[in-house]
Symmetry: C2
Subunit: 446 residues, 2 copies
């Protein structure tokens, strides 16, 4: 890793060159580099925590002056119980994942002695832009090395000292390995972001990790593909056939277990015929947890007639397009499944949607029709997470329509190439006409 | 299909709504629609060919006035031997391909009664912008219906009458099927292109089929992902261990079998030690086919001393960045494999690169190190083609670094979603702490 003073264009060009070397390293060489990073960070623990303490001191001062939020200060703190250990363990976890490079996904015999093979390979150069959490740098460096991608890292200014200390340790560690020094680069100046976002020739993928505002800014200011999501406007459709206790448990979990998470529910769609049967139990459970319900007229009437009176407000049209990220839930009555699907496909953010029903056919229709990366039946939207899916690690959650969708693990950092091994084969002899050869196109075992 | 007079924004919104219905249709319903399209076009043969004749008449006039190229006029002609039949056969070929929708690619038991499934689904709405060839409309409509994607089609103005006749036939055919009318829309006005390219909320993928200039214009003027390639700057690296006849055959095929194709070779890299051994046979075979060689000083000297004197010119630096698309080949001497790889990764367009060598280890290193969608050993770059790869059909050739790369078949029009089927599972009970449940993460058979 290098802490670069080079121009963004030079840094990106150097990263691209390094990516071509990194892409050819064996799994062993890449895993050895992760072992070295782990050892280097372990040895540099005291310096890094001291640097982090200096960042924290400035941040606490800024928070006291009202210039920074307390939650940001909290995210900065590498000394919090378990955080340092988790960061180090994460590197070894990534090392021990199956190698994503060089997997053969298709083999075809085109003709005698002429074989086509599709094999996974790294994408090239990643640009990671993230905010306060300094442990992300180690996590991303590990993912990049494991997947054979070069990475340019740009962290938030509040954690500059921590970043520099961590990157120095990683850089020293990598210099003992086969990973080229320019493969992981740290950029510290904020002014470099627009310049980096313009380098679509040398940077292949941008991964923002931070606020909705950060992601939206990046998506609007680059032609490089962006992997991530700006919004997480998840909905749950509550049908009349749902079990009331099951429904109350799932909606409460989806709304209250971590309201600021992107996979928390923001809109509850209630089937009209469920208003007086299942809905009151759900509304009552939410009220007991202090959730404010922004209701349309019919759902409000249903709540009030069930004597749920606290925290019931009238919904505005904007509420159905709002990611509250707090203990607030928009509630809307819909006549049937089609109306629920239409609402989600118009107002949703393609993140995660759930249906609560006892009817399997209805659930399957919902799951196939909603235009989202996650479609769940009788389960909380909060399961949308790389760790929970069993991916071992998560680069982020994507609401894109191409490449990678939903929680993205190492696979999302890979592309493929086609290799052909021949014996001097030429194309002109193949064709449909007389005297022409035909392709065999035999699918071979992988 | 509708021939739309709606605004581009309304057309895209209607296509998006239709895509949500199309995505839920069974394979049978989509295949039935393809059968209906085939029958409808067959019945409308005379009207369509008459419309095409009117387009041709205007185009021939424009060509006579020097306003259109003769090759464009030729591409317009649906009456050319076999073209109509190929177009119709193509629809049935697409119908008979394996269904790309709903394939399960991952199944994990998260916990008892809680299963995760990853399943392929359509991307949504495609925007296809193409130039003269009117048969493309039938081909793309077939691919869109088969893959469950809605499509907005924008053709070149020279073939408007043909497009309208074909789309009317397809529209009448689809009205008898479950495919919504708005799923395939034809836009005829050129002014609509910039407006369509701005609709990144409703359009998910742009596929340009036409000249480099068209593709470049589109890539530079939209935030929607573009699947395609502007340039095809393919190289072949000729090593000293290559068999001379094999090398001559492959390079001649790669340069001369269809010089205007994107997969034709444009740069020949010659290992220094091959200059006086293998290279003269290759240069001589190329000269015999009328290929002009743009040589650096050392390769020029080698050619001249082998008494190849016709069509040898001095290369300029620009020649190594030029897609000639004609019987012209840039030739450059490189000391070794690393230099060849570095040249390709600097000057190439990530399309298709080949090495000619008897050394397997060298070939494997080349194939893993070149940053291209195709990397070949002892085979012509001209094999880079969906039909030749056995994909049955081809949407285009992509030089992108994410999603789809190389010849793109139906698979490139698909994404996936995650489905979870639970029994009221909530997330808050899982975790690392005491009393928390652990995920099982058992990989299930697909």
């Amino acid at each position: 890793m290098s802490l670069t003073n080079a121009s963004p264009a030079d840094a990106a060009r150097a990263a691209k060159s390094a990516s071509h070397v990194l892409a050819t390293l064996s799994a062993e060489a890449r895993n050895d580099a992760l072992t070295a990073i782990h050892a280097g960070l372990t040895a540099a623990r005291d310096e890094i925590l001291a640097a982090n303490a200096r960042d924290l001191e400035l941040a606490r001062q800024a928070a006291a002056d009202g210039k920074l939020s307390a939650s940001l200060v909290s995210r900065l703190d590498l000394g919090k119980t378990g955080k340092w250990e988790d960061m180090l363990k994460g590197i070894l976890d990534v090392r021990d994942l199956e190698d994503p490079v060089g997997r053969v996904t298709l083999r075809t015999k085109l003709d005698d002695g002429l074989e086509l093979e599709r094999v996974t390979c790294p994408i090239g150069v990643l640009l990671i832009i993230f905010e306060a959490r300094p442990e992300v740098i180690a996590n991303i460096a590990a993912l990049a090395v494991k997947s054979g991608n070069a990475a340019i890292l740009k962290g938030g200014k509040e954690s500059t000292e921590s970043f520099v200390a961590i990157s120095t340790a990683i850089s020293n560690a990598l210099s003992q390995t086969q990973v080229p020094n320019d493969a992981i680069q740290l950029v510290t100046t904020r002014e470099s972001i627009p310049q980096l976002l313009a380098l679509d020739r040398d940077i292949d993928l941008v991964i923002p990790r931070g606020s909705n505002e950060l992601v939206r800014y990046i998506k609007e200011n680059t032609k490089i593909p962006v992997l991530g999501h700006a919004d997480g406007l998840c909905s749950i459709y509550l049908t009349a056939s749902a079990d009331a206790k099951l429904a109350a448990d799932v909606v409460v979990d989806a709304k209250t277990s971590y309201p600021a998470a992107c996979n928390s529910v923001e809109t509850l769609l209630v089937q009209e015929s469920a208003l007086t049967t299942v809905f009151p139990a759900v509304a009552s459970a939410l009220a007991a947890k202090g959730v404010e319900l922004r209701c349309d007229a019919t759902s409000k009437a249903a709540a009030l007639s069930s004597e749920i009176t606290t925290n019931i407000k009238d919904a505005t049209p904007e509420d159905y397009d709002t990611e509250f990220l707090s203990l607030t839930l928009a509630v809307k009555t819909v006549p049937d499944l089609s109306a629920a699907i239409a609402h989600i496909n118009t107002h949703g953010s393609h993140h995660t949607e759930a249906i609560l029903t006892a009817d399997q056919a209805e659930a399957e229709r919902f799951m196939s029709a909603v235009d989202a990366s996650g479609a769940y039946w009788n389960a909380s939207t909060r399961f949308a997470d790389g760790m929970r899916y069993g991916f071992g690690t998560e680069v982020g959650i994507s609401t894109n329509k191409i490449h990678s969708r939903g929680p993205v693990g190492l696979e999302g950092l890979m592309i493929y190439k086609y290799k052909i091994r021949g014996q001097g084969h030429v194309s002109a002899v193949y064709g449909e006409g007389e005297g022409k050869k035909r392709f065999k196109h035999e699918r071979l075992a992988i």
